[in-house]
């Protein structure tokens, strides 16, 4: 058995009276890529956002259950969320660059972590943008507003921004949804590179992508975690009828 990086135990989540996650238990192994798949609205983003306590900002959200990051109880009231989020980075489903320049977007996370050396910052910005396959397109416009980028460029910028601070775990919510096949391939390369050092959890609607990059796949349906296992097993010998129908319903 692999080392478990994140251990989700019997997680329930309500928005007001509506239950969105139902008794979800899931092990995220360290140094691997875990893909979460499932139909739109089944709770993938909600689950992902639970891992770095993003629901704290929503007074209507109520969670119960337990999530462990190594030895740290993520949901515990005393947990320092700032440190937690420093360890678990996130790329959101809707690209959300800051209304700042491209360079500042990438260097933001480094600056708040105390890096002020201009040269080191510039280097880090370049490396992160290269990793996210965006450098060539923006290298002359680093001080232009990130809001003027195209949809796919914003998405890659957000990936670069998350990668720059080198968190232990990176959560990516459909990181390639706005990307063309070539950029997608480059981001997938990045993921495979990243998993050498870090743990990745990705949400994707692209079955091929899940098969290409992930080591493990979890299938969710209507708030429940139906099945989880090695990616090959899930796609080739799903145990559950729902999983089978879903992964076989894919086409192309």
């Amino acid at each position: 058995m692999e080392k478990i990086k994140i251990d989700i135990q019997e997680l329930d989540l309500f928005f007001d009276k509506k239950q969105v996650l139902k008794n979800v238990s899931l092990h995220i192994p360290a140094g691997k890529i875990t893909a979460i798949i499932g139909p739109s609205g089944c709770g993938k983003s909600t689950l992902l956002r639970s891992l770095n306590r993003m629901h704290d900002l929503n007074p209507q959200a109520r969670l119960s259950g337990k999530i462990m990051l190594d030895e740290l109880n993520i949901l515990h009231g005393n947990t320092n969320v700032v440190h937690l989020r420093r360890r678990i980075g996130m790329v959101f489903q809707k690209p959300n660059p800051f209304p700042k320049s491209i360079a500042e977007n990438v260097s933001y996370g480094l600056k708040i972590n105390g890096l002020h050396d201009k040269k080191k910052l510039a280097e880090a910005v370049e490396n992160s943008l290269r990793a996210a396959a965006l450098w060539d397109e923006v290298k002359d416009d680093l001080d232009k507003s990130a809001l003027d980028l195209s949809g796919g460029q914003q998405q890659r910028l957000c990936i670069a921004r998350a990668v720059a601070v080198e968190p232990e775990v990176i959560l990516m919510d459909e990181p390639c949804s706005a990307l063309d096949p070539i950029s997608t391939a480059k981001v997938e390369e990045l993921m495979l590179e990243l998993k050498k050092k870090y743990t990745l959890v990705i949400v994707t609607h692209n079955m091929q992508q899940a098969q290409r990059v992930s080591d493990f796949t979890a299938f969710m349906y209507l708030g429940e975690l139906i099945e989880v296992g090695e990616t090959r097993q899930i796609f080739q010998k799903p145990q559950h009828d729902l999983t089978k129908n879903y992964v076989e319903g894919h086409f192309g």
Binding site: M54, F92, F98, K100, A162, V165
Partner: protein, 294 residues
């Protein structure tokens, strides 16, 4: 479709109409001030008005019209007020929208807006009976009716506007900016200082400008609490008389159409121009900030 076109046109007319009525009224006031001020300079020389320090239109000997001392006093009191009110206001607004529980916020926000309706005399009164003795005691002065007292009271008067407008501007910053910052491991204050506040500079600017306007234009309070002495002050512990206080005191008693009468309009115009300059400067700074930020 025809009906819809009618309403289109109708609303276009109504909005343009209201906008123009509002704008023209304000422009009208400005012109009125300008014209009346201009007439002051038929008899009073520009040099005397701006460089003279003695304001004494009802002098025993020859009337003097120098706004130097008053201008300095006004700037002293106003800058003091802004130095107190702006940090407090932004701090309180940040607290209300980012830290306080929704319950606390729902109680405090209306309470603060309510304080915008405290009549200025009441505040002035507080200045006399509470702030002045306190200042006299703390700084060991013969009395506390001085520029500092005025600054404190004007800061109090500017606070409701500052807090309320800033809070709303902070509140309107899209949630996903904050989420992005938190997700990178920023804490509340870093997020506030580096993401939230920079995204709403224009709202904060509005808050500051309105607070400044309130402080510059306020009469009753300064009139009551600053000691109202026309001499050139040496600092915050001297009694001062501001431009507004002068206008307020003398406007009621000066006969129309005299140089004294026109000079009061010139005083009001000076207040205007100060606000305008500050406004332009602030816009520049903010625009520079925004440009850098983009």
């Amino acid at each position: 479709m025809n009906q819809r076109l009618f309403w289109d046109k109708f609303f276009e007319k109504v909005f343009k109409g209201t906008a123009w009525v509002a704008v023209l009224t304000l422009v009208g006031i400005f012109l009125m001030l300008l014209i009346n001020s201009a007439r002051a300079f038929e008899t009073i020389s520009f040099a005397e008005f701006f460089s003279g320090t003695a304001w004494n239109p009802a002098a025993y000997g020859e009337a003097t019209y120098g706004i130097g001392a008053m201008l300095f006093s006004t700037l002293l009191v106003t800058i003091g007020a802004m130095l107190i009110a702006v940090p407090l206001g932004i701090g309180a607004a940040a607290f209300l929208s980012e830290v306080a529980s929704p319950r606390t916020r729902n109680i405090l926000k209306p309470a603060i807006e309510m304080l915008a309706a405290v009549p200025s005399v009441v505040i002035g009164f507080l200045g006399i009976v509470l702030v002045a003795p306190a200042l006299a005691k703390i700084f060991d002065l013969p009395h506390g009716l001085n520029a500092l007292n005025g600054s404190i009271l004007l800061a109090i008067m500017a606070l409701p506007t500052l807090i309320s407008v800033t809070e709303d501007a902070i509140h309107a910053v899209p949630q996903h900016y904050k989420e992005a910052s938190y997700a990178l491991g920023a804490n509340r204050w870093e997020t506030l200082l580096r993401v939230t506040l920079p995204s709403c500079t224009s709202g904060i600017l509005v808050a500051i400008m309105l607070g400044l306007g309130r402080a510059l234009g306020e009469t009753m309070t300064v009139l009551m609490a600053t000691g109202n002495a026309t001499a050139m002050p040496n600092g915050f512990f001297d009694s001062v008389r501001t431009i507004t206080a002068t206008v307020a005191i003398e406007m009621g008693e000066v006969p129309f159409g005299t140089p004294h009468y026109f000079s009061l309009f010139a005083c009001a115009l000076v207040l205007f121009l100060i606000t305008l300059l500050v406004n332009i400067a602030a816009e520049r700074v903010a625009a520079g900030y925004r440009r850098k930020g983009q």
